[in-house]
């Protein structure tokens, strides 16, 4: 089993399920073992799933604008739970309103995310990034 395991889910009180299904399909199709937690996933659920399944990355989606609040402290909790250095991605419509993306990216980087994707990112971009970061040929 050298397939890389990624945890996928939509964080917080966000119920947008369509993008989640598309990513699940695309990542699985690209050869990843996807543990999809669906929508309305808490930070704790992401972390517990990553522990039990020895995941290589956590991919957080958010569409409803509250992503910045929902994601705060996730990296710290990962560290606390022994998931030190686990790859953290976030993507979608992750902040309120329209803000310059470089500022958004910087804030999420400060929060400990390795890669930040804005609205309209194609699944292929995410797959390419995962492959690079996880060293998959």
């Amino acid at each position: 089993m050298d397939r890389k395991t990624i945890i996928l889910g939509v964080i917080g009180a966000d119920v947008h399920a369509v993008g989640n299904q598309i990513l699940n399909y695309a990542f699985t199709d690209a050869g990843f073992h996807v543990v999809n937690l669906g929508v309305m996933v808490s930070q704790e659920e992401f972390i517990e799933a990553a522990i039990e399944s020895a995941a290589d990355a956590i991919v957080v989606s958010s569409l409803y604008g509250h992503g910045e609040l929902d994601c705060q402290g996730l990296r710290d909790k990962c560290d606390e739970a022994g998931l030190k250095g686990i790859l953290l991605y976030v993507g979608g419509n992750i902040v309120v309103g329209k803000q310059p993306f470089d500022q958004v990216e910087e804030r999420f980087r400060q929060m400990g995310f390795d890669r930040i994707f804005g609205p309209g990112t194609s699944p292929e971009e995410g797959i390419q990034a995962l492959k690079e970061d996880l060293g998959v040929a």
Binding site: T5, M40, E45, A49, I51, E52, S53, G65
Partner: protein
Amino acid sequence: MRQVLLIDFGSTYTKLTAVDLDAPRVVATAQARTTADSDISTGLNEGLALLEKEAGPFRFEARLACSSAAGGLNMVASGLVPSLTAKAAKLAAFGAGAKVIQSYAYQLTREDAEEIAEIRPDILLLTGGTDGGNQETILHNARRVAGIPLSFPVIVAGNRSAREECAEILSPSPHPVFCADNVMPEMNRLVIEPVQQVIRQVFLERIISAKGLSETQTLLDGILMPTPSAVLEGLKLLAGGSNKRAGLGDLVAVDLGGATTDVYSIADGFPTRANTMLKGLAEPRVKRTVEGDIGMRFGARGVLEAVGEEAFGRLTGLSDDIIEQVVAKYGAHPEALPTNPDEEKVDFALAVFALRTALARHAGTLEKVYTPVGPMYQQTGKDLTCSRRLIVTGGALIYTGQLGNIIREALVQDDPWVLTPREMLWRCDQGYILSAMGLLSGYGRDAALELLLGAFGKEEEDAACK
């Protein structure tokens, strides 16, 4: 006339039920003190003599037994994350009829190992990691357990990638090792039947003789299962029916004992209200939980602590001092019966709060979440609010004349987020029919179902006890 004898070796009483398979009907019942500390067949023979006197002579074509004598089946469960594999391990052990004395999450420490050595479990269940997931913890725990200088069976049911290595680590130790499929092969998916089968097999092959219960082997066709499993088998048959007769559908049962309270549910427990999403580990349709701190005597203190003196005072109208006094007395004297009106009131309140607390812990919970598209609900565990049938058992309840009032009061639940049953038709299992028929279900399924439906399924009586 084809006759079958069903025996339940209880911790205190050995209960015998003689069944005529052809009629089918219960011909006679009898009970005698369990003699687990000397030779368990002494008590059995006494019971048999009583049975013969009542309706003999008998010629049994089969003698089937279940047992909770000599402490029942005691297990220790270990897993990785508390709400995931550690919970899965516990659910699996409970469902196999065991008492889970202690459960552990994450890596076992040296102190944990010492505690396990003191507990001396009948079986230790090692889990952790989804298939292909975390191996580190279960391997670490296998090494810890291997270092415990006792000999108890260890069942490995975690991440399949780590199974062989766990077995290798444990094989030089004194513990016999058994393997089963992972209790949680992928996130939130519970697979507990395979490990329950292995628990059953270990119980049959090893635990019975280790507890000195095999002396009876010449008298009967073997002890088939722990008593709670027999109860579960009976409930499953009653709920599900056979291909010839329909069962009753979803059921909840509570066994209120002196020290512990068991709750059983045969129900999917899917959400019953709109905009509700199921979260976390999907619970099994056939679920059993044991509340080790809730009971009528040894467990009286636990009941008081769980609900608080204020609630007790409100229900009984007694002062905190009197309540405290009676609870202390019951805790110290498990055989005590109420001797005055105050004690009767406390007894009543204990039964109400024990049932209510045990049901609340067994059932799931609901949480309201405000989202941009309006309020949504998240459900954890089972929604039993629409379960309509309750079976109660347990000496404490059977002999009180207040059963109807106790149940009515116990089903009152002020917290709308606790998904316990609210309105139920109830029945009392006076003759320990559930465990007897659970045993019989593996031998004469149709007869067992007919007797169960006869005891618990009469519609006209349902109307009366509503």
